[in-house]
Symmetry: C2
Subunit: 233 residues, 2 copies
């Protein structure tokens, strides 16, 4: 089916393969998964972890503010306490569903099985008061932190590690548990470590929660589309 | 100097190089720049643009909601109108600085010189009401959009294109100009296209606005640090 919203870039199917000199990054981008059940708990060599963290720190940031921090958590006690909190929040979410049967089989975290956790935070005071590029968009610093997270995720994937972003938690719980000041915001709790394998299909799609859309549906020309074909919501 | 905050991963300097099979992505991550002055305006081949957009769309998203859209803007009139708005916001920011002399020489956008613009948006209604993983963190969908942006940025860099994120604008201006509904939030205005070269040092560092910190300063063990050496703010 011809999809005019796709800006004439190829209406269906995957794009043409990249030439060999640029294809490696695409392999990593498309192989990357949000891991829950495949962590082995094996150690991460220090040099690998250093490369992954340096890659995160090399992300672009508004006004070169580099407003992120990475707290590495190996403590079993801290991770057990967080896990308990996540299980509670899982119940909170399940209670909002009209029918939670499809949610019940979905694993939402690998906090205890993964090798370590990395809490990524955002400090809006870094580089303030005059953060170049943030006066009109207060969230621009928060965006920078997410760019660092994706660098971390891709670097870890290239290193054959799995990453799982856990988001069933209250920010205030993490702040209190880790002594994070009220002005600094936890953005992500990431599980990291060696894995048995990466699934070729995202967990939520495998378990029938939701299916990925073709990339062409997200691409539009010149203006917001008045109608997007094939979109349910 | 030994830096205990760095979690024993190597206290100073860059991490050890990656083995050849994983090093390509690091080369891209560290070569990537936020481009303003190096755009040539030459065309982007359709297959290249398709790969870059498909890479963005392959990002992880909370609850597999894929809440992003990409509006490709080639219209010179639209870009000229946006450029005028950005110049106004530049003046607004400059007026807040006690001394704007170091800001005056910094170019903040390449909207008219680049080949095209891509406006990236966030639609919180995608996949709602029950977005898995968003009940406790309302911004989780916004974070997903930023992960897609970093995929786009790295893919473009691998394709020898430059990307420049312009953030001197009011979201409401972009919504109105492009017919974006009030419920959908513009997250980024990206300039994209071939470049003469990528600078080896970020513009803001070259122009003395701010210097990058060593990655080790952003890494901590187990808890938020009570004191971070070498940090000014």
């Amino acid at each position: 089916m011809r999809c005019p919203a796709a800006d004439d870039l190829g209406a269906t199917g995957p794009p043409a393969p990249a030439p060999p000199e640029v294809s490696d990054i695409y392999e990593v981008i498309h192989r990357r998964r949000d891991v829950r059940g495949q962590f082995t708990g094996e150690p991460i060599p220090d040099d690998v972890l250093a490369r992954v963290l340096a890659a995160a720190h090399a992300a672009p940031s508004v006004g070169l503010s580099q407003p992120w921090d990475f707290i590495l958590i190996r403590s079993a006690a801290t991770r057990a306490a967080f896990h308990e909190h996540v299980m509670h929040e899982r119940d909170v979410f399940a209670a909002t569903l009209p029918d939670s049967s499809s949610f019940e089989k979905i694993k939402i975290e690998g906090v205890r099985e993964s090798t370590l956790s990395i809490v990524v935070t955002y400090d809006p005071d870094r580089g303030s008061p005059a953060v170049l590029g943030r006066h009109a968009i207060a969230d621009a610093g928060l965006y920078s932190v997410c760019l660092a997270i994706q660098n971390l995720w891709l670097a870890a994937t290239a290193e054959s590690l799995g990453v799982g972003w856990v988001s069933f938690y209250r920010e205030s719980f993490v702040q209190e548990m880790l002594g994070i000041p009220p002005s600094v915001r936890p953005v992500a709790w990431l599980c990291l470590g060696p894995v048995t394998h990466l699934e070729s299909t995202p967990d939520l799609e495998r378990h029938g929660w939701r299916r990925r859309t073709p990339w062409q549906e997200a691409v539009h020309s010149e203006r917001w589309p008045s109608f997007t074909p094939g979109r349910e919501d």
